[in-house]
C-alpha cells in the first residue's frame, strides 16, 4: 500500500471576514525572488514573457505571470505552481539570481468595499486609489510582519506573506475586517 504525502496549505481551513471584507487563502502558486542588474532586465523580460517593471511600486502581468517591483534590482514573480519560472529565468542566459520561494510564501486574498481599511488596520501605506492604484505593489509592513501587497482590483488585494507569519497575518486581517464593517 502506497501512502502519498500530501502538502497542506499553511492557511487551509482558515476562515474570516465580515460583511465588508472577504478574506481567503489564495491557491498555491509558483514564485521566484529575482535579482538582476539593469542591463540584464531586457533579456530576463524576454525569457519570462513579460516586461519586468522598473518603476517603483508597479507590477506587470503577462504570460500568466505577474512581476512585482520590490526594489531597484529586485522582483517577486508569481505564476502557476510548477509554471517553470526558474527554468524561464535560466533561459535568459544573463547574470541574475533567482530563488524559488513558492513555498516560503503563501498569499491571502482580501476583497470587498472594506478591503483597504482591513489592510490599513496594520499597514501604514496610503491605499487610496490615487496613491495605490490597481496594479500597484509594495513590500511593506503589516502589524509585526513584512508583507508584499498587490492591488489586483479597486477593491481587491493580494497579500503575500512568509508562511510562518501567515497565521498572524490572517488573524490581524480578520480583526481589521471586523472593524472595517463597523466604519462602512
Amino acid at each position: 500500500m502506497v501512502e502519498m504525502a500530501t502538502r497542506t496549505l499553511p492557511l487551509s481551513g482558515f476562515h474570516g471576514g465580515s460583511s465588508a471584507v472577504r478574506i481567503e487563502a489564495a491557491p498555491p502558486a509558483g514564485r521566484i525572488s529575482l535579482r538582476a542588474r539593469a542591463e540584464d532586465v531586457a533579456a530576463l523580460s524576454g525569457a519570462l514573457g513579460l516586461d519586468l517593471p522598473v518603476k517603483p511600486k508597479t507590477s506587470v502581468s503577462g504570460s500568466g505571470r505577474t512581476a512585482l517591483w520590490l526594489g531597484p534590482d529586485e522582483w517577486l514573480v508569481v505564476g502557476d505552481l510548477n509554471g517553470g519560472l526558474m527554468q524561464a529565468a535560466a533561459n535568459a542566459g544573463v547574470l541574475h539570481s533567482a530563488t524559488d520561494v513558492s513555498h516560503r510564501n503563501t498569499a491571502i486574498l482580501v476583497s470587498g468595499p472594506g478591503a483597504a481599511a482591513a489592510i490599513n488596520a496594520g499597514c501604514p501605506q496610503d491605499l487610496s486609489l490615487k496613491a495605490f492604484p490597481v496594479g500597484a505593489c509594495a513590500r511593506t509592513i503589516f502589524g509585526k510582519v513584512e508583507i508584499v501587497l498587490l492591488r489586483t482590483a479597486e477593491e481587491a488585494f493580494r497579500v503575500e506573506v512568509w508562511r510562518s507569519f501567515s497565521d498572524y497575518a490572517f488573524g490581524l486581517l480578520a480583526e481589521g475586517a471586523r472593524d472595517a464593517a463597523f466604519s462602512l
Binding site: P56, L70, G71, P72, E74, P124, A138, R139, I141, E146
Partner: protein, 113 residues
C-alpha cells in the same frame, strides 16, 4: 508618525518601514591592515554623535531594501534631506538646523528640564 522620503521608491513612506543604520560617510581605510590601532579605533568605533544636523545611513528594510543617506536634525527629529547611497554629502535646504541653532538648543537645555 514620521514620513521618510526614500530616494529609491521616490516617495514618502512611514517610518515603520525603515531602520537606522549608523553614521553616514565613513570611508573604509584604503589599506586597513596598515593603519594603527588608534586609527582603527577612530574608524571603527568612534562616532561624532552630533546634536543637531547629522548625516546618517538609513535602510528601507521593509520596502525596497536599499540603504540610503539622510540629513537629520537630532533635536527636532526632522529629516532635512535624503539621497542615494554613494552620493557625496549633500547640502541641506535652509531649515534652521545649523551650528548656530545647535548653540541655541544648548542654551535652552537647562530650561527644558
Amino acid at each position: 508618525m514620521l514620513l521618510i522620503h526614500c530616494p529609491y521608491c521616490e516617495e514618502d513612506r512611514s517610518e515603520l518601514e525603515f531602520r537606522w543604520a549608523g553614521e553616514a560617510h565613513i570611508a573604509r581605510p584604503e589599506n586597513i591592515a596598515a593603519i594603527s590601532d588608534e586609527e582603527f579605533a577612530e574608524y571603527f568605533f568612534l562616532r561624532n554623535n552630533e546634536k543637531g544636523l547629522t548625516y546618517e545611513r538609513w535602510r528601507h528594510i521593509h520596502g525596497c531594501g536599499r540603504f540610503f543617506n539622510a540629513a537629520r536634525d537630532t533635536v527636532s527629529d526632522k529629516f532635512l534631506a535624503t539621497y542615494k547611497a554613494g552620493m557625496p554629502k549633500q547640502p541641506v535646504p535652509q531649515t534652521g538646523a545649523s551650528e548656530k541653532t545647535v548653540e541655541t538648543y544648548e542654551a535652552t537645555e537647562g530650561d527644558a528640564r
